[in-house]
């Protein structure tokens, strides 16, 4: 595998930034010429994946993506527009039945901006401080003003939850989030055990570049479907953006109620829901108690498999992390999973309610979930449809993911498999409420720097 041109790939695609503050500006392109001028000015400021000087993080980063409607509004040729995959053209809202975004999660209940096709551009700022975040947002507002090329529709603020004044990687239910992402070839970093693909000898290797970037062979040794011209696609990728509201009070009440009945107690039950203790310790290597040393150790905290736990006695078969990344649980040494991996970029939004204070479902809090990959259809949509909203692959019938599934009517159940050990008996959690509700989202294309310049200069030529 040759070295990737990191100067051409957007930084957001190549790495998780882990900055404490972020905002996502959702904007409408007003006119193709002015819009292209805006894109050109922004491109000069977009953060690439080039290594940071002396390894030091910058004060802030800027990245950009477009919906299909955005690319159309920017005047891309019809031949190019028609060469994008159908799911990207249709967008998340029209794919709602495939994604299980129905009932309470139906697009008719989404926030107003997501109910229309006006969201054309996604601009992401990540920053070390709130002041820097504001400065970059003001800068973008000025560019919009000067070029008259885009109009801001909505600004989604997001920030790491602070515990004892320090930014953490917790989300609103109290779980430590964001462990690892799939390793793929060409990104300069050490392979971390548990994060690529499982090899026959039990070691882990990076996934093929084409699983996450257009223009390179994927795990099937094929080039991913790429828009024409090829130059527009290479080094770019797709992103599913979802604003997921969290019903914190419902979660805490449910956990307290069921935790009181579960012989292992509430904390263990919380771990069974997700497959990790709330401090982040994976259940598979540490089923009886959290292990802070293990959790801190990057070479161990994602390094586990489920092959020896097919009955789910340690980590339930339906636990969130086991559903969404089943590793070797379906046999074939993990081979069924390698084409279904997603890169996650998530950030909480809203005020965190400490555990000792009364939480409210209706408060504005949740997570901005972003999943990246070379095929929305094969990766994100498959995981969402088959592994989150359905259970057949895991032999769980039509059970859904407890945490993020759409549980209409309170009839869904989550089964905690167990053993004859009194502290680990099987347990059924019924009457699941919706812990997470969909508030809206869209599919974006995150082009390379080269492609951004093609778009900005009106040089996209499919011939």
């Amino acid at each position: 595998m040759e070295k990737l041109n990191l100067f051409d790939i957007q930084g957001f695609v190549a790495r998780g930034y882990n900055f404490p503050y972020a905002c996502y500006l959702l904007a409408e392109i007003s006119h193709h010429e002015a819009g292209r001028s805006f894109v050109g000015r922004v491109t000069e400021k977009v953060t690439s994946a080039e290594p940071w000087e002396q390894g030091k993080k910058p004060e802030s980063t800027l990245n950009i993506g477009f919906t299909w409607q955005g690319l159309a509004k920017l005047g891309l040729p019809d031949v190019t527009l028609m060469s994008f995959p159908v799911e990207f053209y249709q967008g998340m809202r029209r794919r709602n039945r495939i994604l299980g975004d129905v009932d309470q999660n139906d697009p008719s209940h989404w926030e107003p901006i997501w109910r229309e096709d006006n969201v054309h551009v996604w601009l992401a700022i990540n920053a070390q401080t709130r002041e820097e975040l504001t400065r970059r947002a003001d800068e973008l507002a000025r560019l919009m003003e000067e070029t008259q090329g885009a109009r801001s529709l909505y600004t989604q603020q997001a920030a790491a939850i602070r515990i004892d004044g320090e930014p953490s990687t917790k989300e609103h239910f109290g779980y430590t989030d964001g462990f690892g992402n799939p390793d793929f070839s060409g990104v300069v970093r050490d392979t971390i055990p548990g994060q690529g693909k499982l090899m026959p000898d039990g070691t882990w290797a990076p996934l093929a570049t084409g699983e996450f970037l257009l223009g390179y062979p994927d795990e099937a040794q094929e080039l991913p479907a790429c828009p024409v011209p090829y130059l527009l696609g290479i080094n770019g990728t797709y992103m599913a953006y979802r604003k997921l509201h969290q019903n914190v009070a419902s979660f805490r009440d449910y956990l307290a109620k069921k935790g009181a009945q579960y012989p292992g107690g509430a904390e263990k039950l919380a771990a069974k829901f997700v497959g990790r203790w709330r401090d982040g310790t994976p259940l598979e290597p540490s089923p009886e108690q959290p292990d802070p040393e293990l959790t801190k150790d990057k070479r161990r905290n994602t390094n586990f498999t489920y092959g020896h736990d097919l009955d789910g006695a340690r980590c339930p078969i339906g636990a969130h992390i086991r559903r969404t990344n089943p590793r070797d649980a379906f046999g074939f040494n993990g081979g069924l999973v390698n084409r279904r991996r997603i890169m996650r970029r998530g950030m909480p939004y809203g005020e965190y309610t400490p555990e000792d204070q009364q939480a409210h479902d209706q408060d504005e809090h949740g997570i901005i979930f972003m999943a990246l990959g070379a095929s929305l259809f094969r990766q994100f949509e498959f995981v969402q449809q088959q592994w989150v909203e359905y259970g057949n692959d895991a032999r769980l019938g039509n059970d859904k993911d407890l945490l993020t599934g759409c549980h209409s009517g309170g009839r869904d159940r989550f089964i905690v498999q167990g053993t004859t050990d009194p502290g680990n008996i099987p347990f059924v959690c019924g009457g699941l409420p919706n812990f997470v509700e969909m508030r809206g989202g869209a599919y974006f294309f995150l082009p390379s720097l080269t492609a951004l310049r093609l778009i900005a200069t009106g040089s996209v030529d499919p011939r």
Partner: protein
């Protein structure tokens, strides 16, 4: 035994459709209209044909060569494709179909060349077997259960998980009593309808 996967049989049948230019509505059109109006899910007549896990009927007009250089080729006839993932012996299955649903068999295959009628189940089975192709490769999600066993297992999942949820934590004596009661009531439950989209719970507590 490419037609078999465990106890499951993958039946693939191509029956030539009668070509009669004198007809106002051709056989293939009439058959297509009939199939499109056939009730689905538990209302489908095939849901009532014992042993059917999954079956499909398609009218194939022609096959088109895709490639280079272009070649114009045509089938000698239009065909009715009938595929079925069935449990057990295909002859017994086909004879059973003719016995329990003679009118449906008649309505469908009377559009096909050489159909002997549904009155003689063995003659119908022989006819279908004559039209059979080797399946070569098929996938059976569950390959060792009858339709009835599958339905009973799904029903058990629905009822038993509800039972566990409502009774977990009780003393062994109580649990045994409740379970004996559950087991007796479960045994009396009717089998769910084959082809039903969703199974509903029947054994509500305290009833």
């Amino acid at each position: 035994m490419a037609n078999r996967n465990g106890d499951m049989y993958g039946l693939t049948v191509l029956s030539p459709i009668i070509n009669d230019p004198a007809l106002k509505v051709s056989h293939d059109t009439a058959l297509r209209i009939y199939l499109q109006k056939l009730p689905r899910h538990e209302q489908s007549p095939f849901a009532g044909v014992s042993g059917t896990h999954l079956c499909r009927l398609v009218v194939m007009d022609d096959v088109v060569f895709v490639g280079h250089p272009a070649k114009e080729e045509h089938l000698k006839s239009k065909y009715l494709i009938f595929t079925s993932n069935l449990y057990g012996d295909p002859d017994a299955y086909l004879e059973g179909m003719a016995r329990t649903h003679p009118q449906v068999v008649e309505d469908i295959w009377s559009h096909c060349v050489g159909f002997p009628g549904a009155k003689d189940p063995k003659a119908f089975a022989d006819y279908i077997r004559k039209c059979q192709l080797e399946t070569t490769f098929f996938f059976a999600d569950v390959n060792d259960k009858t339709v009835e066993q599958t339905l009973r297992a799904l029903q058990m999942k629905v009822e038993f998980t509800a039972f566990v949820e409502e009774n977990q934590g009780k003393s062994p004596v109580e649990l045994q009593k409740e379970f004996a009661r559950f087991w007796e009531r479960f045994g009396q439950l009717q089998l769910p309808q084959p082809g039903a989209k969703e199974l509903t719970r029947h054994l509500a507590p305290g009833v």
